[in-house]
Amino acid sequence: MTQTLARAESGRPGHWFEADPLWFKRAVFYEIHIRGFYDGNDDGSGDFRGLTEKLDYLQWLGIDCVWLLPMYPSPLRDGGYDIADFYSIHPDYGTVDDFHNFVDQAHQRGIRVIADLVMNHTSSDHPWFQESRSSPDSPKRDWYVWSESDERYPDARVIFVDSEASNWTWDPVAGAYYWHRFFSHQPDLNYDNPAVREAMLDVLRFWLDLGIDGFRLDAVPYLFERDGTNCENLPETHAYLKRVRAEIDAHYPDRVLLAEANQWPADVVDYFGDGDECHMAFQFPVMPRLFMAIRREEATPIVDILEQTPPIPDNAQWGLFLRNHDELTLEMVTDDERDYMYAEYAKDPRMKLNLGIRRRLAPLLDNGRDEMELMTAILFSLRGSPVLYYGDEIGMGDNIYLGDRDGVRTPMQWTGDRNGGFSRADFARLYLPPLMDPVYGYQAVNIEAQLRTPTSLLRWVHRFIALRKQHPVFALGTWEALRPANPHILAHVRRYEDEIALCVHNLSRSAQAVELDLSAFKGLVPEEMLGRTAFPAVGELPYLLTLGGRGFFWFLLRSPS
């Protein structure tokens, strides 16, 4: 009946949202591994039915947009990033109808949905590749990058250094080498072929027509290859992304393209174009420096990288995160910094993977509650939209004895019951065992218990998300570092319209005093934002604050009333 009350085009997100081309700048994102979230059909694997059942939780948590890890049919040799069919849903997760229903139910609750899409490559199981390798005369031969030799493009680095020796692999069926920037079972598509470029646009249209609010574009820097280059961030790649953006702008308002470009800030900003390429890009280099800063107890690593970050177009936004489904990547740090990070955060060699550390937030911070709050506060205070990783809101742990990145993709811990409340299937059928250790196991760490405990991390994260969303200054405001003399203190001012927020964080384990130069705000009264307590007005002298170890203050600077 609702169909007659409001238009039946449930595929159109405008149906449930006020038009807002910049919604993503105000959004809090939440990254979900569908397989690990909730099992709706008792088969041991999370699915869209289960995810739909948990929308009440996501709505309560206050997040604005769900980011789904790959949901397509796949042999799952790379967590689903090896796509075997762009037009369907992995049978473990349900059907396209289940997906459509999930999106509609999420929209009805005011939650948007974006999904991972891998444009760069397919699974070697994809029919396109099978056809391509079958014969030099195959109409799909030019859909992939074939070569007689494995010598071409020598300047392109190998990314998965732990498993791949070369970007070329010999295919005995084709009698040729094929190009792959990631695993050898993930051949790169040939974007020099116009048919490939059109085929990928068709894929995007298919999901956009089903109502999806956008895509997280995996591995975008590698779409094209050119001799004499490192084959990353090429002008041709940017031109194609602009073509995708033009399609979105013309036919799909309020959708978002989020680029995964693990590059230095000066290169990443190119993915925004002049506001005509990707809407968002992850700010990868900030993340390891947040961990470096808290371990070294000094603000410099954070401030330095932020000040090196070039400005971005007004209609663009950074995506900021502490942890995600991959290893904590250390590609965008110096060799010295990487050694430091390994020494501090990956004491067991099992914790390392490729150029990174495969651990979750809580274990990285030694399960320190103050540290988790401080890191979240810093993340939420910076310019950009925060992206939370499922389970980190309750301080879930990891299992470094599971292979590849599975250790950070274990089942969501809903209750202290069997299988952590994730699934009613037999334990042996679960896609991965839930954590059961005494510190991070589901009996100690679960949503049910934390919901009932007013002082829990989950309840704190909930209040903190609400606080950030009440103040658009964090999403839209300018950022000015204060650089106080005390090196342990990270302090910055955010301004938007008439609102001024002052965020002061103590990275040290011990209590600190800091004098802040607030002369620009003389006469204003700092009001602490969580408890709404008024502090003394800013006067002539430097503003003196004392903070407990790993403590922070967020203030609104208000006119005295």
Partner: protein
């Protein structure tokens, strides 16, 4: 003269007008600007009529969208009320109270018309026949009273109700009235039609046309009138009210083919989510309690209230969750022709539209009504001391009989009582905050309600 003149209304005049209205909901926020987002001409001859969506912007960088029906008459031609601004020999005014506008709206609804706006479309719909022709309407008068909308009564036959603050998605009142009308539930004023805006900006319900209930008195007024002298008569009316609300919930839970109304088994953590939210509200309202004698009975008892809440929220049978009224109290029940008619299905105005559309336990409505009995007892000093207990028992007893067999409530009395206590506490905490901000004279009522819950355990 073109209706485009409506787009030239000066911003400061629009801002001053909107912020002075009762239905302007953001009294505590500082508006810094207003902008016309889209508009459609409803009538091209005098008085010109323009249905407009305007955006109010606030200092913190947030905004709201409001609906205005702007009328334009030649200055001096006729005295118009609710003047927004004078410009170029024309008077721009808020036209919902103008009989010409009401007639035009009825005419458009009857015709299931579709009118182009600059960006979107205005669509008018009927549900069954609209009994009255717009042109034949003689008398139009404002209903008054309303807080988030504007209603006018046409010849004591129809009400045209326009929503002022707009949110994307169907208004829950439209959904509920349409559902109840189609399922022939007799104790609501039937819905005759509605109009909505569909466009790139949003899809939103702009207003509804429903039957007017003549010669009615609302339950609150009736309580004030009857409690001093005829408390027995009033209590028996509450018995009937319990039956009506029970029947309404049974109807709302009766159609499992309609996904928007199909009763659902709540998710395992729903109760924990509700109580976690309530716990935070309790913490925040108690954190800032002023030092007032009326608050003395609950002062410093925040932990006790939160412990009480925690003791209620252990898992147990929850019944079903369904669409429900959402803001039920005595003022939303009209007594007419010896029976109750339930009105105002918009839900609590402070909640967002997705929240107001959510399925929850129907006991939320029951709790709302029971809190209303406490207000009535407090408003009428002459009421018998036992009135509130009696009213609760009559209402709840009749309600539970009426919903028997519908499966929407948990089976055990204990579980029903437990859920009711949670929802009453939720309501009382909301009242506490509201009275602190708006009506300190009434603070005693929520305070007594909270104490009552604490002592009943």
């Amino acid at each position: 003269m073109s209706v485009e003149i409506a787009t030239t209304l000066p911003e400061d005049a629009l801002l001053a007008f909107v912020t002075a209205q009762r239905w302007f909901g953001a009294k505590s926020r500082e508006p810094v600007g207003v902008r016309l987002l889209d508009h459609a001409a409803l009538r091209h001859e005098a008085p010109l009529l323009v249905d407009a969506l305007v955006e109010l912007r606030y200092a913190a960088g947030t905004h709201d969208v409001y609906q205005l029906l702007i009328g334009l008459r030649q200055s001096g031609a006729e005295q118009a009320n609710s003047v927004i601004a004078e410009l170029d020999g024309w008077t721009g005014y808020d036209a919902f109270a103008d009989p010409a506008a009401a007639r035009e709206l009825i005419h458009l609804v009857r015709g299931s018309s579709s009118l182009p706006a600059e960006e979107g479309t205005l669509e008018f719909h009927t549900l069954g026949a609209v009994p009255q022709d717009g042109a034949a309407v003689l008398r139009v008068r404002p209903l008054g009273l309303e807080q988030s909308n504007t209603s006018v009564i046409l010849d004591d036959e129809l009400i045209v109700k326009a929503y002022r603050r707009l949110e994307a998605g169907p208004n829950p009142e439209l959904e509920l009235l349409a559902f109840l009308t189609r399922h022939e539930f007799a104790n609501v004023p039937r819905l005759h039609g509605w109009w909505s805006y569909n466009g790139p900006l949003m899809d939103a319900t702009l207003g509804i046309v429903q039957r007017y209930v003549p010669n009615s008195v609302d339950g609150w007024t009736l309580a004030l009138r009857e409690l001093p002298d005829a408390p027995e008569a009033f209590s028996s009316r509450l018995r009937r009210l319990g039956e009506v609300i029970g029947a309404m919930h049974t109807t709302l839970a009766s159609d499992s083919d309609d996904p928007a109304f199909c009763p659902e088994v709540p998710s395992a953590e729903l109760l924990a989510l509700v109580t976690a939210t309530l716990d935070e509200q309790i913490e925040s309202v108690f954190q800032h309690l002023p030092d007032l004698p009326e608050l003395e009975p609950i002062a410093g008892r925040s932990d006790e209230v939160r412990d009480f809440l925690r003791s209620l929220s252990t898992f147990g049978p929850l019944g079903k969750i369904i669409r429900h009224h959402g803001d039920l109290h005595l003022g939303q029940a009209l007594w007419a022709d010896d029976d109750w008619v339930i009105v105002d299905f918009e839900g609590e105005p402070a909640r967002t539209l997705p929240e107001r559309r959510r399925k929850r336990s129907p006991l939320r409505d029951v709790a709302g009504m029971q809190r209303s009995f406490a207000y009535a007892a407090s408003a009428v000093p002459e009421a018998p001391a036992t009135f509130e207990e009696r009213a609760r028992a009559e209402f709840l007893g009749a309600y539970r009989e009426a919903v028997q067999g519908s499966g929407i409530l948990p089976d055990s009395d204990e579980a029903v009582e437990r859920l009711l206590s949670i929802f009453e506490l939720e309501k009382a905490v909301y009242e506490l905050r509201y009275e602190l901000d708006h009506r300190p004279d009434w603070l005693g009522v929520p305070v007594a309600g909270i104490v009552r819950l604490l002592e009943a355990r």
